[in-house]
């Protein structure tokens, strides 16, 4: 398995509280991605990073911010969680160049009450 971990694995939080999810990789891959997966919608890209301090928005970025200060860590922050952000969040990594396959972490199940 690719060396990619996510923390926490499960979290329950209240509406309006800030939440930070962490993705950590040991592969030294250039690209890192945050997705959310919901029934009926599949996997949707929130934000991605193509290098340290280089990030860009995905299709569902509203309400989320990201940071990447080190190659190995990619943080996803919900500044003020809402019930619509209840989902399973997956981080993925990709080495770059002409290698396009993505390797996914185990996911974080977030419930916003």
């Amino acid at each position: 398995d690719a060396g990619i971990t996510q923390s926490p694995r499960h979290k329950v939080t209240e509406t309006g509280t800030p939440v930070t999810l962490r993705c950590h990789q040991t592969e030294n891959h250039r690209y890192m991605y945050w997705y959310r997966q919901d029934p009926g919608h599949g996997l949707r890209l929130i934000h991605y990073s193509y290098g340290v301090k280089d990030t860009d928005k995905g299709e569902v970025s509203d309400g989320y911010s990201v940071s990447r200060s080190k190659t190995e860590d990619f943080l996803l922050t919900l500044e003020s969680a809402t019930s619509s952000q209840t989902s399973v969040y997956f981080c993925a990594i990709r080495s770059g160049g002409t290698s396009y396959e993505q390797y996914f972490g185990p996911g974080t199940r977030l419930t916003v009450t």
């Binding site: 997705y35 009926g40 919608h41 599949g42 996997l43 193509y50 396009y100 396959e101 996911g107």
Partner: protein, 112 residues
């Protein structure tokens, strides 16, 4: 509008038969297409990639075709086994090769 459709939400097939899953897309011009497998409670796992200038790719019991005229990819699992039961996702390479857009998946069940 842009759309990726996988043929059905669920597909049941008898063990030993060939499973064929379909991925259709509209208003995309993907540079490549990928297939992933996802088991319940786990992240997707990469299976195969096929580029826009390739017609077919094989890996063991898996075969992928890519028809950019029909805007369709077919994913075949030959001699299917109960262990092949999972959700299969197609993903289009878009946006300057840096990202992919996923379909909603087809849940395959192989019946012994």
């Amino acid at each position: 509008s842009q759309k990726i459709e996988q043929n059905s939400e669920a597909l049941n097939i008898q063990e030993g038969k060939t499973a064929t899953l379909t991925c259709n897309y509209t208003n995309y011009s993907p540079a490549y297409l990928q297939w992933y497998r996802q088991d319940p409670g786990r992240g997707p796992v990469f299976l195969l990639l096929i580029r826009e200038n390739e017609k077919e790719k094989r890996k063991e019991r898996l075969k992928v075709t890519f028809d950019t005229t029909l805007k369709q990819s077919l994913f075949h699992i030959t001699a299917s086994q109960p262990a092949d039961s999972a959700t299969y996702l197609c993903a289009l390479g878009v946006g300057g090769y840096q990202k992919v857009t996923f379909g909603t998946g087809t849940k395959l069940q192989v019946i012994p």
